[in-house]
Symmetry: none
Subunit: 406 residues, 2 copies
């Protein structure tokens, strides 16, 4: 992983600009008919040119074979070993919807569920209610203005489908709490249990809140109950400016990725982009304000999860077609990669090595890559590295690292 202690000593000022372009879940598996992956099958003249001018490699987000979620995947790309820096689900949901977390907050993810007449869970996802229903229930709970026995406040926000966020704010709270989801049906939700004194007090307050909030929705079947899991607080990650000396901005369509970026100190760039081309336009708007831009493309992953090879390939081609606008900004270093692989054949994240492209006209050592694809990357000049080393490479190629030792 990026060695923050070492980097602190090596950082040197520069006016160079770095772009980290993440095609979520970009790596894949070859399909039988032509033995090509989505990335290999896609028509990508611009990415192929970058590959020929730069150099390739592949990375493991958290070690060979480990399939990661988006949170750890992005932490890895940002230079934070995801095995060392764990982020709770609650805080991920919070930053994911842009909730302004403070150091007095304990965040937790909530699921609306269906309880039977005896209070036992009959559907852990409340029949997968749509987001609008979720929003209506959340509004109802907030309107009830629940008061607890201590001076704390609980914020509730709808997330998506049956999922919501609860944030308890107050002095002396702690997040070392076991969740209430029993992970099966036919039993009632569990009680929150704290691991120590402060967490036990916090757990008791959450139990009190759950009872009162559940009472508010008791007649709203199928969403007449709730479970909470992933209690967590702000992990206090070292920030980009401090560890890399970079003023960094994040451009992402999905809140989750803005959230993870904000945890490492990136500014969340405000924009109205939906397409990749619009995201690159947003990058152009703020180009002069940042040393580093993280640009996130979501739909490579989504289409991989759908199991739709052609649609994933089409998203890659959309990125390629939009690329000239990004290159026109003249980044000094451009890294193109994914946070993990999502082979459409597997309809989910996988632990295969992730394709990695490093383009830096002034400093990259060209290898023999003919184009951007998994098998070109496997033979690339960067070798096979850990995701958390990528930032170090980017800084070095941007002339932002001095020499280590005499």
């Amino acid at each position: 992983m990026a060695n923050f202690e070492l980097l602190k000593d090596l950082l040197q000022p520069a006016s160079t600009k770095i772009v980290l372009l993440v095609m979520d879940g970009v790596g894949g598996l070859p399909r039988p008919e032509d033995d090509k992956t989505e990335l290999e099958a896609a028509h990508t003249p611009n990415l192929d040119k970058l590959a020929r001018e730069g150099c390739l490699g592949q990375h493991y987000p958290a070690g060979p074979g480990i399939a990661v979620g988006s949170g750890p995947g992005h932490l890895g790309l940002f230079g934070y070993d995801p095995l060392e820096y764990e982020i709770g689900r609650g805080i991920l949901e919070a930053v994911g919807i842009g909730f302004p977390v403070t150091d007095q907050d304990v965040c937790v993810r909530g699921n609306f569920c269906t309880l039977d007449a005896d209070g036992r869970i009959s559907d852990r996802r409340a029949g997968r209610i749509p987001t609008e229903v979720c929003q209506r229930l959340v509004t109802k709970i907030n309107a009830a203005d629940i008061r607890l026995s201590a001076d704390v406040k609980v914020f509730v926000e709808a997330v998506q489908d049956y999922r919501f966020l609860a944030v308890m704010r107050g002095p002396g709270l702690s997040g070392a709490i076991e969740g209430t989801d029993p992970q099966r049906t036919g039993v009632p939700p569990l009680q929150c249990v704290g691991a120590d004194d402060a967490s036990s007090r916090t757990a008791a307050l959450f139990n009190e809140w759950i009872a009162k909030a559940s009472a508010v929705i008791r007649d709203d079947a199928p969403a007449n109950g709730m479970t909470l899991r992933g209690f967590s607080t702000d992990p206090g990650l070292p920030k980009y400016r401090e560890v890399y000396g970079l003023k960094a901005g994040a451009i992402a369509v999905y809140p989750m990725y803005r959230g993870v970026a904000s945890l490492v100190g990136m500014d969340v760039v405000q924009h109205h982009a939906h397409t990749v081309a619009e995201e690159f336009e947003a990058a152009a708007q703020v180009w002069k304000d940042y040393d580093f831009l993280f640009i996130h493309v979501k739909y490579t992953d989504s289409r991989g999860e759908d199991g739709n090879f052609e649609a994933k390939k089409a998203v890659i081609e959309e990125v390629d077609a939009a690329l000239p606008a990004l290159l026109a900004l003249k980044p000094d270093v451009l890294v193109v990669t994914g946070d993990h692989c999502t082979p459409s054949q597997m309809r989910g994240h996988s632990g295969h090595p992730v394709p990695l492209l490093l383009w830096a006209p002034a400093t990259a050592r060209r290898d023999r890559s003919a184009g951007f694809g998994e098998r070109e990357c496997a033979h690339g000049g960067l070798g096979t590295i850990r995701a958390a080393d990528i930032m170090q490479l980017a800084l070095a190629h941007a002339g932002r690292l001095g020499k280590f030792g005499a």
Copy 2:
């Protein structure tokens, strides 16, 4: 890095001989006209034959993208993770000029500087006085036969330009001392400050010495003052014989490399070599005395630092032309690599992966390499490894490691 604990259990006796041939700064970047690096452009029939018979790879001395100095670069090649085994500047200067450091010594690098009438630094490098002036000032200080309030002796040696070495020798000294260079002008030099009792006593003695030595040169403007930094003692690195079971010798033209080799327990082979061919002759002279020879070629780096592609290429060709004499000694394992890259286009060290060639007629697994060059290495059978793993590979291919586990 080499896992010394593991190796201790695996080492087995053998009569095989290993050569580590280091072409300092050998890695480069392709030039535009033919897309070749110095190593790729050089006519190297002998190295290319070794590459075809052996196998290639590449290494990162201290992690992807990190450009290292010669000290940490060589420590890495010798099997000592340079991020774990840091060597102070003072001790590096001392071993670099061949000063015979003992365990009673605290070494520090000195800079002559210019002080104004108020004792404030007006030039931190004394107008970059030439080495001869430095030597004259050092001679003058030594001639003053400065006595201190404790039974210690201070040795002073000129190094280069405005740089000198000071070594305090005596019982109970300690090197945990902050230096006196304020790193800016307009302020007086700082006082030495120790981190603990022993270091504070040592710091007080250095302060006493600085006052007396500075008085000696007070009329020698522009070099009428001094700063000291990089206080350090022998790092006590585990020695080659102990960790690898090797009787090792070092052949190098520059004192610095002999010095680093001596820190890991290599004998410094006495010779009068200047050219690579003469270094190989020196190797032949002592061939029967050693299990392991480190042979250092300096000028690949020097010409890279000069920004002279053709001259660096010529040094590589000089190595290649001399190689038959080395091969005639019939080493069982020959490793050819660099301590870091010095692309002539960058006129300095870089953090690109370093080409690595492992030749071992009896044990190397031939890969598909056609010749010795950066891009062949990127595709080589050894993969991309840490420098500190190379010694393990060399020992294994020399039949000097038994099996781990049943």
